[in-house]
Amino acid sequence: MVRISDLLRGEGSQIPPECQLKVTPDTPVSEALRKMQEVGCDNIVVVQDETAGHSVLSKEEVLSGLLMELDSAQMQLSQLQEQIEGSIADQIDIVQDGVKALVESEKDKLAVAIDNMTEGLVILGQTGEIERANPSAKVLLGLQADDSLEALAVVIDGLGLRNMVSGKEDTEGKQAGGFKIRSTNHKILKMRWNRMNDAWGRFLGNVITIRDITEEELAEKSKTEFIASISHELRTPLTTIQNSVSNILAGVTGKITEKTRDYLIAMKSDCHRLADLVNDLLDMAKLEAGSMPINRRVMSIAAVVNDTIRSLASQAHARNIKLTCETVGRISPVFADPQRIEQVLLNLVANAVQFTPPGGRVTVRTFDSGDDVVTVVEDTGIGIAVELQKQIFSKFYQVRREPGPGSRGSGLGLAISHGIIAVHGGSIWVESTEGQGSRFYFSLPKTDPFVMLYKHLSILSRPAEGGDFALVILHLDVPGNSDRHAEEAGSIIHELLTESDHFLTDSRDLAIQTEDRELVFVVNGSTAVRVEVVRRKIQEIVRRRIRKCCGQAPILPMLGTGFFPADAADVRDLEKITRRKVVRLF
């Protein structure tokens, strides 16, 4: 605070007479000024002590003191401000440092955690670049822990992983996926990728985890091997017993009495039952271990239905049951294991025949239902109570335990059927009314014809399958674009498809409709001779049909043949090359 004393210049001065205001030197300037205004005088007399005398200060001088005070106040204010700012900055720094340290330590912890994971972790950015990878990922993929991300990128691209991840993202909008690979260092790796989105759903990239499942796979394999060896151990003695009985019955040991024969026939039939039980138990074990081998092929359900009906015809006839089958419309082929599907059908139809009283009917119907091919086994049998319908697909469940139909099987048939259909990606269910009959349904997913074709071709191209085949593409052009001829062409395709069962003699041959008026035939193990037989047969049918349909704008049959591996060693190339070779059939 500025006081009057700060304004005094030391020497005393004359006191003007009009001045009546007296203050002491320690009066604050502001107070002196206020008093001057109150009194209304322009000067003040400063009363100092006796020795120094009096001093007179003008109003201007007092005002200048006030200015000094303001200056000093301002200075103090700015000092204060600086102090405050400084301390706030310090505080902010402290907080920032703290947060930084915290984040760093968390980040470090996360980084350490990631780097110490046994699983491999690779983070891909939005454009697919590798943002981060832990040492495990590198080691699992056969690199050194300290190899660069560039080296890892080469390996990952070699596996087609980046394409796959980004491809899936574009085409199907999938959020995750996974697959198994065998690494260069003979490890079995399970790779899994997940899309990363932030809280607002923005795409950040993908995270790939890699897990070494070699040991799990080995354990699984030993389980499967155990099942295989048990199967061998159980069947070998059965074979000896069966063979011995058969030999004695055939007279290897000489003449036998009628009574011995009766015993032996009973033994033989029970040997069959035992063998069936062993088979059922092993199938169930395999399904539960997830080791049921499924050898998928492009197959026609209708063909399997026919085989099943044929093999159960005598059994149905013996029980006076009318066993028939019907297909509704055109049925797409499915990609499945024909043996296993036949097993399911045999089981369902045999059950139906067994549980239907004499004079009844068993019908097998197959129809196309959009995405699936559905087969239904319908009987006029005893039916299943509603409360039991859910249980019948579980293990060891039998509708009747007392003597009578159904008391003899292993009780595993429906559970096995359920398992087989499930591994094919289909479903199985029942509709039944007690006393009226049952309908057992199973559905198998249809596949895109080209996907099926390529799957089939890639199986055939394996060396174990013989490794050579031919592709025959038939396309019916309708140059006039007339509806009538287009329809006729469609009908010719249908006839060829039906007839192909007769002229495609190898079980691995295939006829598949890829477009409205296009058929692709796969002729397996193809010597040119086999292909020529197929070509002639196609020509014969097409010629007969086209002659029948007379008109100005005829149907132009175009045909091309390509041989694997002579024309192309890649199945997709083979299709392209075969298409290029398509010329007029006649």
Partner: protein
């Protein structure tokens, strides 16, 4: 016209080599095949099977899959590489009904296969048809 010494019959007999490690099964097979006028030689594993093939030059081999020392697949692969090994007919006796087993054997060329436990009359039918096929090919 008359075959007093039975020589002609002996000469026309089809020779079958049974390769299986189960003596009981081998015995029942041998008894039945001999009753059906086949000449039978036997071996207990793949290696012995290859030796017997060298010595006896059979027409047909009934070949088990799972055997100690050398299994059926290995024997088949080696057999087909031997001189004369392509001409012999092979029927695989497999305990597994798995088709991959069959596919592997098919790659080496087998004439037929039968899944254990099998019916002997069914096996005899298969042998007969293989022998018939050989006769027509030979002609």
């Amino acid at each position: 016209m008359f075959d007093f010494l039975g020589l002609r019959k002996e000469a026309s007999k089809t020779k079958i080599l049974v390769v299986d490690d189960e003596p009981n099964i081998v015995q029942t097979l041998q008894d039945r095949l001999e009753m059906n006028e086949y000449e039978v030689v036997t071996a207990g594993n793949g290696r012995e099977g290859l030796q017997k093939f060298e010595q006896e030059r059979p027409d047909v081999i009934l070949l088990d899959v799972i055997m100690p020392i050398m299994d059926g697949h290995e024997m088949l692969e080696m057999l087909r590489k031997q001189p004369g090994g392509q001409d012999v007919s092979v029927i695989m006796l497999t305990a597994r009904s798995q088709t991959q087993d069959i596919a592997r054997a098919n790659a080496c060329g087998i004439d037929d296969y039968i899944v254990k436990p099998f019916d002997l009359s069914e096996l005899l039918e298969k042998i007969e048809s293989v022998v018939e096929h050989r006769k027509t090919v030979m002609k």
